[in-house]
């Protein structure tokens, strides 16, 4: 099993664990943790896709001359994507935590199954 495969499988396992957690736990905070785990898994999958065995990190310096870079570094695009995704994930998580706080403040509960006043 190559490193890439291990990373990708781990990523998918984390996504599944995260989603499972988010769907089985009623507490909103735990659900948020679940989504964070799933988000980490997603990032891992992204990195794994861009990974090329035996190549260096995509940082151009003395060790990686610009002329030969395309043959010696891993694909930098997924890494850039992951950076962006992490930032966005942070934003969304923060917003969800803010919601959780407000929900607790107004309704006195964090149980998602109690928030069913809108339905049908």
């Amino acid at each position: 099993m190559t490193l890439q495969n291990i990373a990708m499988s781990t990523g998918f396992i984390l996504i599944l664990i995260g989603l499972y957690g988010a769907m089985t736990h009623k507490n909103i905070l735990r659900m948020i943790v679940g989504f964070t785990i799933a988000g980490t898994g997603t990032n891992l999958v992204l990195i794994a896709v861009g990974y090329l065995p035996g190549r260096a990190a995509p940082i151009l310096n003395a060790a990686v001359p610009i002329e030969t870079a395309s043959a010696t570094i891993v694909d930098p695009v997924p890494q850039a994507l992951v950076l962006t995704a992490i930032v966005i994930g942070l934003g969304v998580t923060a917003l969800m935590l803010a919601f959780a706080y407000k929900i607790h403040a107004t309704k006195g509960t964090l149980d998602i199954s109690k928030l069913t006043d809108l339905k049908w």
Partner: protein, 1042 residues
């Protein structure tokens, strides 16, 4: 022109600028927000103008100074510019509309609004799929924030549900993006197209994972519980953005990535879209909360457009016109309705009755529901026409059926809602309507009319908004504050002038209809002089109906015909709804009419086979294998309008509950539209056969049964206007029968019927309506003895029923005479017998009109009544004169028609020799008949007068009732349940089978909806489960189909 990148710069910059302001400068902050959105709208409009009017090509904006695929590029072409304008205008109007809320929440809320609009603009412009993801996340975050701009505490739980779903979407989307990237080596849409991503290729799953999250952004059934909760609880001005702007952006994102996956994914979109469209419309049927209903409707409309996106290869050049038309209709109307909902205090649909205090808002609401229902002259109408034609031409009948089924459901709840608005009681504490909200709503409505004009110009047909007749009708909207009498004069003058201008172009058949519609309509309008005040809404509606009718009879292309048909339907609906108790009847009228119209559009589309500008006369050249189906579809459509048996249940209520001067219009004139359609159909298509059965033979039977059942049911009515309405059903049955005979005399008879029915039905409706207005009831057993108080009305009704029943000397007899001659020419004996039987039944009900209303004992409370008002009597007197004239000189109208019919049926014409008319079987001399009948009548009358001298006068109350007052006083009235013995004998014929049938369908749909919507439990985790189930299920279906 300013580079489109400034759209992002301006909006984002303004959002940052707000951060620098002091917390308290909220007015300034709002001003900056509005300014930024307006600037964005202006830039978008500039680009749209350059692209559309000057034909400029799309511009590319390269970021990071490098060309794609090494850097992200933005693109603005024609569709992008139009969508950007839509998004910025929606943002602008919402920002103005929810000013109070934004001021309360401060500059942060405004910044969030700006970010949301900026992100939507980004989704539209970017060509990079990861960039699409980023902008979607921005939309998600800002939506999460904007949901909280609501007074509804439940918005909080809607927000968290949304964020939870957004998390799942973002995980799926990221995985999808990275694997499509792996498969294609690029993130730029223009560089990603590879056959591998086509459905069934190696990258199917990768593209599926990219596509599905974007589909979920469109809130498809069943993965849409969260969206409905947001629509229900968020501030309506934000819901407007969510529905109009976010929905459009997400649709465009799907459209863009279809470039990558290719046409093979089209059916997936169509399937998902149509499922949403149909199911959401069913679910909406039982929805009582206005905003949630709008949510369901939004989901449905988006589904329909998604289905169109899936067919874009098939639609080819007209794709943008169709998808754009549906999108603009949906966006403008939905935004407008959400704005309106903010002006309504209560959240029940019935609370919207408060809006009718302001006629402008009623106009806006009517505009919006007409836009959503795809009625002329709005963009959705043109789009519907083109869409159905394209689909029918390529044999996708199933899709058409589903689309039309969903559309009729949608029309059902929308027009029911309009009925609530017009008819339900208003609240006691109305409060004032905020001016800003009214202005924003009106701006949306005007935008709808503007779009209507633009789509008309783009359509390749005559722009409906440049038709004189239609413009004349719409002009009454502008002068609706004039007094009614003045508007009435303008209307009459206009109709007569229009006739004067156009009559030279009519052929004899058109002439008959033209005279009835325009001149006849003007005569009925004389009765409208009795109304005082402004009578707001009456003239635009009535003139819309007349305009539609006038356009109908001169239509040459199927498009013109259908457009006119829809116009007259819409106008007459508004007209009928004006009646006091007309709410349910107007609804069933519009639903039957729209369903009939759908049959007509499908018929024309099937006949045209993709041919643009299909001429009605080309119906004659339809291929033999299609012809019977075209015939059936069109015939069903037209016979819905004439209310043949089984499709008749809308008519009695609609005609009986309409206002006094409206009943004759819809009965005497409007019904003829259906007959005109049948005439056009038969004269062009003749009589196609299906499985060896002549379709006109089926029609013959339908006509005969309609005549029998209509007359029978009329005989058992207690309500005088209902009686007349049922009688119309029967009369139309006669006319259909005559036409379906397909011989010379049958047609002549039917055309004579058209004239006769107009005269005597208008006359009877006016006189009975006038009497009912005086007595305050339409129930005949509550009247009686009115002959002494209203002798003129009595005389009119007497003349009327003589004419209807077809006894000498009036023109009804002429009709009968021709009719029997026509029958002798034909071989169809059995339906003939039925027609013969229905004749005498007409006597039964006609007799009751005279007997129950005018004869017998006068009611105590009616003792001081007078004749109906002068103006209601004027047209009646004109009709009496006309009837007498037409009876003596039928030749003046019919001789030309007779000659004209020789072109179609050379055999069996009549000989017109002065005042003597001869057929193959006998002769008819109207003048002699008049003289002889008059002589007999005079003789008998003199005799009676002589005998009468011996009669002893008895005062009304010289008898005494010794018993108590009966529990149900009507049971003692001689006219109540008059034909009870007959009812006993033929009760099985009178079972309300059709009513039960249609009622059963309605109930079944409502029950399904009531059951199915429990699926939306409100639990966020269930919604996640729905989403994942949707994803997995869709994938399994794809695997299965492959």
């Amino acid at each position: 022109m300013v580079s489109p990148i400034y759209l992002i710069v301006i909006t984002l910059g303004a959002a940052f600028l707000l951060g620098l302001l002091s917390e308290r400068r909220t007015e300034l902050a709002h001003f900056i927000t509005v300014l930024a959105l307006a600037a964005g709208g202006l830039v978008s409009f500039g680009w749209l103008w350059i692209m559309a009017a000057e034909g400029a090509s799309a511009v590319e904006i390269y970021t990071a100074g490098t060309k794609p695929p090494f850097a992200i590029n933005l693109r603005v072409g024609l569709p992008e510019a139009a969508l950007l304008l839509l998004i910025y205008l929606t943002g602008l109007m919402s920002a103005i509309h929810m000013k109070d809320m934004l001021l309360r929440k401060g500059r942060r809320a405004m910044a969030v609004l700006l970010i949301a609009i900026m992100a939507l603009a980004g989704i539209i412009m970017t060509r990079d799929i990861f960039n699409i993801f980023v902008f979607f996340e921005l939309v998600a975050i800002s939506t999460g924030g904007m949901v909280l701009l609501s007074d509804d505490p439940r918005a909080l739980s809607a927000g968290i549900k949304y964020l939870i779903i957004a998390q799942v979407i973002s995980i799926l989307l990221l995985v999808g993006i990275i694997f499509t990237y792996q498969a294609t080596g690029s993130l730029n849409i223009d560089f990603m197209k590879t056959p591998e991503l086509a459905l069934g290729g190696g990258g199917t799953l990768a593209f599926f994972l990219l596509l599905v999250p974007l589909l979920v952004e469109l809130k498809p059934f069943p993965a849409n519980g969260w969206a409905l909760d947001i629509y229900q609880s968020a501030h309506p001005a934000f819901s407007a953005i969510l529905s109009a702007a976010t929905g459009s952006a997400a649709l465009f994102a799907v459209d863009k990535i279809m470039d990558i996956g290719g046409a093979s994914w089209g059916p997936v979109l169509t399937g998902v879209g149509l499922l949403s469209f149909v199911v959401s419309n069913i679910l909406a049927l039982v929805q009582k909360n206005d905003r949630r209903l709008l949510g369901y409707s939004s989901v449905a409309q988006t589904g329909l457009i998604l289905a169109v996106v899936g067919q874009r290869e098939l639609l080819g050049e007209s794709y943008l016109f169709i998808a754009g038309g549906l999108l603009i209709g949906h966006a403008v109307a939905k935004a407008g309705l959400f704005y309106l909902s903010d002006l309504v205090k209560g959240r029940m649909l019935t609370n919207w009755a408060d809006l009718r205090r302001n006629p402008l808002l009623v106009f806006a609401f009517a505009t919006f529901i007409a836009m959503l229902s795809g009625l002329p002259p709005f963009p959705g109408f043109y789009a519907k026409w083109e869409l159905v034609h394209a689909l029918m031409a390529s044999g996708k009948t199933g899709l058409v059926v589903l689309i039309l089924f969903g559309a009729i459901l949608e029309a059902g709840y929308l027009f029911r809602w309009f009925g609530y608005l017009m008819k339900r009681p208003q609240s006691n504490t109305p409060g004032t309507l905020p001016l800003r909200g009214v202005l924003v709503t009106m701006a949306a409505a005007l935008a709808g009319w503007l779009a209507a004009y633009i789509w008309g110009e783009l359509s390749g047909y005559d722009n409906l908004l440049s038709q004189t007749a239609l413009l004349f009708a719409l002009g009454f909207l502008l002068i609706d504050w004039f007094p009614a009498k003045l508007k009435n004069t303008i209307a009459i003058a206009g109709m007569l002038a229009f006739f004067w201008q156009s009559y030279t172009g009519y052929d004899p058949i058109q002439m008959i209809f033209g005279i009835i519609i325009l001149v006849g309509g003007a005569v009925i309008l004389l009765a409208s002089y009795h109304e005082r005040g402004q009578r707001i809404g009456f003239y635009p509606s009535a003139l819309l109906m007349f305009a539609g009718l006038a356009m109908l009879i001169v239509a040459e292309q199927s498009f013109q015909f259908f457009a006119a048909w829809e116009v007259l339907t819409l106008g007459s609906y508004f007209l009928i709804l004006r009646g006091k108790n007309a709410e349910p009847h107007a609804l069933s009228y519009i639903l039957f009419s729209l369903a009939g119209a759908f049959a007509i559009i499908a018929g024309f589309a099937l006949a045209a086979q993709g041919q643009a500008g299909f001429k009605i006369t080309a119906l004659a050249d339809v291929a033999a294998d299609l012809a019977p189906w075209v015939f059936i579809l069109l015939a069903i459509g037209f016979m819905t309008k004439t209310a043949v048996i089984g499709l008749h249940i809308w008519l009695p209520g609609a005609h009986a509950e309409a206002e006094t001067d409206v009943s004759p219009m819809v009965s005497g004139i409007l019904l003829k539209a259906g007959l005109f359609g049948i005439i056009v159909l038969l004269s062009n298509m003749g009589s196609p056969e299906l499985y060896g059965v002549k379709l006109t033979y089926v029609m013959l039977w339908i006509g005969a049964l309609t005549a029998l059942m209509g007359n029978l049911m009329a005989a058992f009515q207690e309500d005088a206007k209902r009686l007349l309405a049922y009688s119309s059903i029967g009369q139309m049955g006669y006319a259909i029968f005559g036409l379906a005979l397909m011989n010379h005399l049958g047609w002549l008879m039917a055309l004579m019927f058209v004239i006769n029915h107009y005269i005597y039905k208008s006359m009877l409706f006016l006189s009975v309506g006038g009497v009912a207005k005086r007595t305050g009831t339409k129930l005949m057993y509550k009247m009686g003895g009115l002959i002494t108080l209203m002798p003129l009305s009595f005389f009119v009704v007497l003349i009327g029923i003589i004419a209807v029943s077809g006894v000498p000397p009036l023109s009804g007899f002429g009709g009968r005479w021709m009719f029997y001659n026509a029958i002798l020419d034909s071989e169809n004996r059995l339906p003939m017998i039925i027609i013969f039987i229905s004749g005498p039944i007409a006597f039964l009900y006609l007799f009751r009109l005279i007997h129950a209303i005018f004869l017998g004992q006068l009611k105590d409370e009616h003792r001081k009544l007078k004749e109906p008002s002068f103006w209601i009597m004027v047209p009646q007197v004109i009709y009496v004169v006309l009837l007498l004239a037409f009876a003596v000189l039928p030749g003046m109208a019919l001789q030309k028609v007779d000659t004209f019919l020789n072109g179609m049926f050379p055999e069996g014409g009549l000989n017109w020799d002065g005042l003597l008319i001869t057929s193959d079987y006998g002769y008819w001399s109207p003048v002699w008949i008049m003289v002889v009948t008059g002589g007999i009548f005079a003789a008998v009358f003199m005799l009676l007068l002589a005998i009468n001298r011996k009669a002893q006068k008895v005062k009304q109350f010289n008898i005494v009732y010794s018993a108590e007052r009966p529990y149900r006083p009507e049971t003692t009235h001689f006219a109540w349940n008059f034909f009870a013995p007959y009812r006993k004998a033929i009760w099985f014929l009178l079972l309300p089978i059709a009513t039960r049938f249609w009622g059963g369908i309605t109930e079944a749909l409502h029950a399904t909806a009531g059951f199915m919507r429990r699926f939306y439990t409100g639990d966020a985790q269930h919604y996640v489960f729905h989403l994942l189930g949707f994803v997995v299920g869709l994938y399994l279906i794809l695997l299965g189909v492959q």
